[in-house]
Symmetry: C2
Subunit: 148 residues, 2 copies
């Protein structure tokens, strides 16, 4: 097996065709990683989510890392890692055009209200359905490809 | 779709049958997440890797987070999140028995020398093949299951 670097465009292409990645955020020295559905558009990863631990943490510290991959086997895979910054798109007058962009790309590319925006029963109580529109602005991006 | 919590044993069972997860570590406020092959044994996730960014970061800050999942569709999935602590198993006399445990569980459960322990050409130079045996000691574990 040989592991080699992917070009920036090859890495972006993987993000363009991917819907599910893993998103890591951090509070103090403690990292936290969860599955994350997104849609790529114009150097950003758009998403919609209900408020919870990951949104709480990213509001306090917007530095995030995203990993997306395509694994055919342990010997044949591609993995892209993005260092980026969380930006919330609140329901305020100055963010309306950005929220419209988010809504459009999510509607086209993912069933955006699932699983983030869904009925969730935790500790016996139903979680509120308050969708948060957000995007990860891509900073550094690297990709690696393994071939047999 | 309904999202519900999994029991600790259900979450551990997912780790027992999983080989590939995503591992997040952090340096300062910056998280970093990568694919991670492991084998579960006795409340720890064992792995072998070559030295690189993730090992460098975990040596400086052992707090990590691991996410493992089984995704049938956006409406049917399980996801387990572990907060844990990185522990290196160096080639010293006091760690020989722990290294033997690591070697045994990895040999049984994963092709442990791949992809971490493999020929890698980056920036035109071949990376050294120095395997690092390590484990993630599981602290908090939570799991969620979505059903249609």
């Amino acid at each position: 097996m040989l592991i080699q670097e992917m070009t920036r465009q090859e890495s972006l292409n993987l993000l363009i065709r991917t819907r599910l990645c893993r998103l890591a955020c951090a509070q103090g020295n403690q990292p936290y990683v969860v599955p994350f559905y997104f849609a790529y558009h114009n150097n950003s990863l758009y998403s919609a989510s209900t408020v919870g631990q990951k949104i709480d943490w990213m509001r306090k510290n917007p530095l995030v890392c995203v990993e997306a991959d395509e694994v055919a086997s342990p010997h044949e895979w591609m993995s892209v890692v993005v260092f980026g910054r969380y930006e919330e798109l609140p329901d305020t007058p100055e963010y309306q055009s950005e929220r419209a962009v988010a809504y459009n790309v999510l509607q086209k590319q993912v069933v955006w209200w699932e699983p983030g925006y869904t009925k969730t029963i935790l500790h016996g109580t139903e979680r509120q359905l308050v969708p948060v529109f957000c995007r990860i602005n891509i900073g550094q991006i690297t990709g690696h490809r393994a071939t047999p």
